[in-house]
Symmetry: C2
Subunit: 609 residues, 2 copies
């Protein structure tokens, strides 16, 4: 037996017991004829004391960092206690020891604040995984999965495995494909999600399905994407949107409780997609703080039911506002005393290419009730005051105004709001605020193809009140410039996203379950009948044999864990992540394959110059 | 809300309650002005009664098999109770109903004994999944996974996800590969198992790891193999073989309890690989019954320490036994009165190509103490009696004897033993008997390459007492005919298989954890230093930084479920299985991909004529 106890469990009550421990040498400290070693394993650190009798043996077999050793000894109370760790009141007086395995000097320190750079830590991921910071992340990940499984089990969900070697679909230009040796010339695809399978399981009557499952997408990787990622994938039958929202806010609240010991009793807020865009400039607002966007001048083509305050800023000879498609403002609390240097810095910030604005207008709402702006020569104090009123600015606030084309300006204002929220400490890692965003548009306009694409996916049902609009109108867009006037632009989906602290952590929809409507949807997306049958014939077929009403959602498991762990990077929560080129640096994968493999698969390379 | 209750939960105590149910129409029976419908969902079946008032509406909207309907009504006690189902004492007197979705007539009946053939049921798998028999299998599968997770959690194991897009390794000719769009000319491989990753996790100090994980192998499919299959994959640090055996027989016993309500208190039997081969003719013996093989004439080259009884059969002018490499016998209890027709049938059975023997010798141990054999002209009754003694045959038994080349004869005798066990009712679905098979050979001889291959995998450690034999001997086999005399032939591995009712359900080993020994192993398998570094450099590297002693095992999850469910086919326990050509008949996958995909992946077909 290699050990009687772990390095994390011995306490003062165990004093005088003889034990055997095994683990890694964290540190070696020599004081005269005595040597102290911190022995580490997954469970903790225990101090070892090698007395004078063992020094000769130690000299002959010196211990280095990360050596794996086994020691036998008895537990004694420490004179110099370390109350920062649970085992800090005891130490092991070692009788004998054995080196189980040596270690070369690690390329970086195995400590919370390591000296290793990203690349080095990726290459030696097995050493990086030893660091407490990384271990805590994987422990949190396991806790989230365990909590999820327990909740869903109690709610009657069944974990059912769906296949990984499936059929390439158009969901789907970004499928990874797998050549089949037994079926030369043919390929499997790896699933981007188990979407169609979970719907088939509902047709099969499984009623409540879930899976924590790997999904694959061969897309150009942004900083925080991985070619393989994990979803908590769920589906339910005989449900309406309300049933789903209740079920899954219950899940997230349970995770909060189990993993973070947070009682999230309040009702989860709900917001329409239109309100999210109007008030926060994006569809996943961080509602831990206010600072809502004021649409001073709204674009003429969208938000038809919303109020316009353009009169406040136009007609004052300020060409920027006169010409802008939209003018958006936020009132930043308590920042009216920003210096010139500070406002200049903010102006530079919005001019960065990632934000892409040409400038920033500000109005200081001074504590004494006066107003001071960067556009004083165009606007009287009275007009500034009126603007302050519609932006809900209080005295002491700093109003920041951006103007320009609708999409870019809205995005920029949203980014600016998030940036100011961060700078002012409104976005705390340990404060969690959930939100449902509802009533997404069913379609998005694809400029390149001058056609409609499914915003969520082609299986999402329209709002019942919009079904006739979809069925009765031709999807063809006659005039690309006026696509917003097409009836499809206003069709809303039975779709919902769950947002946590400004991140989309999950999303789903009530699905189409009638063959006719599904066919109509495929047609609306420009798919021919033949194409639809070729790609989704099995699903259309299934809908002919008694498909129940159903819906579901999927959580991005990696991101959920990252947010709960207070991190911005999902990579920190994946045991063996890939880098931005989709490479596993440790394995050196992907890599070449040999001629025999090409030969058996009956494919060859066709490399471009 | 679509329903207030499920179709499985209402009882007599609920009588007079008004409820809403939704589900599938299982049957429609009309009796005069009354219509009975059995409504089915995942949870059960509830009888609906449509009274006279609803017949006109029913006539206008007739219900068919598998229609999805919603009904409102009140619960009443049935006059004609069906005590075979939990809801059989009540029925719903329907007030109103709605057809949620119609169904075409299913291509086969949704019943336990369906009229659908294999192909049809695979094509319409979503309908096959509705059948109670299939649903029970998937429910059992979920119960096994849940039990596994609970046990391993309690034992301190962490579920850690390992990557699916990895590097092609030689473990290994049967890797599925995945072309990388971002790294043209390079390929990922899908894992045949997470073997190296779980070992790296041990190097990282995770101590106890598990995963229920999909694995992939592109091999020619036999009747009961799938290109993607699921493993319960586990690894532990600071353990010896004994720790692992105890931990995982605990797991299987827990599964027995949770899933089958079986208390398996007895100690799990253990047997060396050599004894398994000697006594049962294979390495996964079904020990629910005896009928052990008697090695009358043992081959000269193997089993050097075992007793030989050749003198009993040789030198009697019976050329078959004289010339045979081996002569093996089993005593079949109570079959001494087999007729000529019965023994002839057995002879034909062993002559089938799958068994491949040229004939069968039998000895009847008659109840009156006399002996009668098919080789009476060669053997005196005295000699027959002596043979009966060494085979442990009792009066009333039938001794069956096969003779020929070692491997084929042993395999045939093993099959014959299993067949007789089945015929005599010794192999009951509801009786479970576990067995550890230990001390497997480390190497197997590969005739084609005249070299050693790893029997388990190249990471399995030799028995400590055999390490020097491995290190000190050149792996080269000078004389292929005498490979058994090479010292490597006798090296035993620290490897173990768990066997349940004659099926290998899991296997594993104590791993090599020293770089030098691992390098020696790669060399023994004929791998050059360069090749070893190219393929497993990351693992060899990891072993330099303090790798702990570790070991583990993996269970074949699909097979375990099949055996627990009393089935011979794993396919019945997989929601969406593939057929023997690796095809998903429902999806029609694999399939062709389009030119754009070839173009982006920079590969093309290279089909043979």
């Amino acid at each position: 037996m290699y050990r009687t106890h772990t390095c994390g469990e011995l306490r003062v009550k165990d004093v005088n017991m003889t034990v055997t421990l095994a683990g890694w040498v964290q540190t070696v400290r020599k004081f005269g004829a005595i040597t102290f070693v911190d022995l580490r394993d997954r469970y903790g650190i225990t101090q070892l004391l090698f007395g004078e009798d063992l020094q000769a043996e130690l000299d002959a077999n010196p211990l280095g960092r990360e050596f794996v050793i086994q020691v036998e000894g008895f537990i004694q109370e420490r004179s110099n206690k370390n109350l920062n760790i649970p085992t800090g009141e005891i130490e092991i007086q070692v009788h004998k020891f054995a080196i189980l395995n040596k270690s070369a000097v690690p390329p970086f320190t195995i400590t919370d604040e390591t000296d290793g750079g990203d690349d080095l830590r990726m290459k030696y991921r097995y050493l990086d995984l030893r660091r407490n910071a990384v271990k805590k992340n994987l422990e949190l990940r396991y806790a989230v999965s365990r909590s999820t499984r327990n909740y869903l089990h109690e709610q009657g969900f069944m974990d059912i495995e769906t296949p990984f070697l499936i059929k390439s679909t158009p969901e789907g230009a970004r499928d990874f494909v797998v050549p089949s040796r037994m079926n030369p010339g043919q390929f499997y695809a790896l699933p981007q999600s188990p979407q169609t399978f979970k719907q088939l399981l509902m047709v099969s009557g499984y009623d409540r399905y879930y899976q924590i499952v790997k999904c694959f997408r061969d897309e150009d990787l942004r900083a925080d994407r991985q070619p393989e990622f994990t979803q908590i994938d769920c589906e339910m039958s005989f449900v309406e949107q309300e049933d789903i929202l209740n079920m899954f806010e219950g899940l997230v609240k349970r995770i909060f409780k189990d993993v973070k010991n947070i009682d999230y009793h309040e009702k989860v807020e709900r917001m329409t997609w239109e309100d999210a865009m109007w008030n926060y400039g994006n569809d996943k607002p961080d509602i831990r703080y206010g600072m809502k966007i004021c649409n001073i001048k709204k674009p003429s083509s969208v938000y038809v039911n919303k109020t316009d305050n353009a009169a406040l800023v136009t007609g004052a000879d300020f060409k920027v506002f006169d010409d802008a498609e939209t003018v958006l403002a936020i009132a930043v609390p308590g920042c009216s005393e920003y210096t010139r240097k500070q406002t200049d810095e903010l102006t530079e910030w919005v001019k960065r290419p990632q934000i892409g604005m040409r400038g920033l207008v500000f109005i200081k709402c001074n504590a004494d009730g006066t107003y001071k702006s960067s556009v004083d020569k165009f606007y009287s104090e009275e007009r500034l005051k009126a603007i302050a009123e519609v932006t809900n600015a209080s005295s002491g606030d700093l109003i920041l105004i951006l103007a320009g084309a609708e999409e870019r300006t809205r995005k920029a204002t949203s980014e600016l709001r998030l940036e100011m929220g961060k700078r002012l400490g409104f976005r705390k890692d340990n404060e969690f605020k959930l939100l449902w965003v509802l009533d997404f548009p069913l379609f998005e306009y694809d400029e390149e193809g001058n056609r409609w694409v499914a915003r969520h996916h082609p299986f999402t049902s329209p709002k019942p009140s919009d079904i006739q609009t979809m069925i009765n109108n031709n999807p063809v867009i006659e005039d690309a410039a006026k696509y917003l006037e097409h009836p499809y632009a206003n069709i809303k989906a039975n779709a919902y996203d769950m947002v946590l602290n400004g991140n989309e952590i999950g999303g789903g929809s009530i699905r189409i379950y009638q063959r006719e409507l599904q066919e109509k949807m495929f047609a609306a997306l420009g798919m021919s009948e033949e194409e639809a049958l070729h790609k989704f014939g099995f699903l259309l077929g299934a809908f002919e044999y008694g498909a129940p009403p159903h819906g579901g959602l999927a959580f991005g498991f990696d991101r959920l864990c990252a947010i709960l762990g207070g991190s911005e990077s999902i990579r920190d929560f994946i045991a063996f992540p890939k880098n931005n080129s989709g490479r596993d640096v440790m394995l050196d994968a992907p890599s070449t394959i040999d001629d025999k493999q090409f030969d058996e698969l009956q494919i060859k390379l066709d490399l471009k110059a």
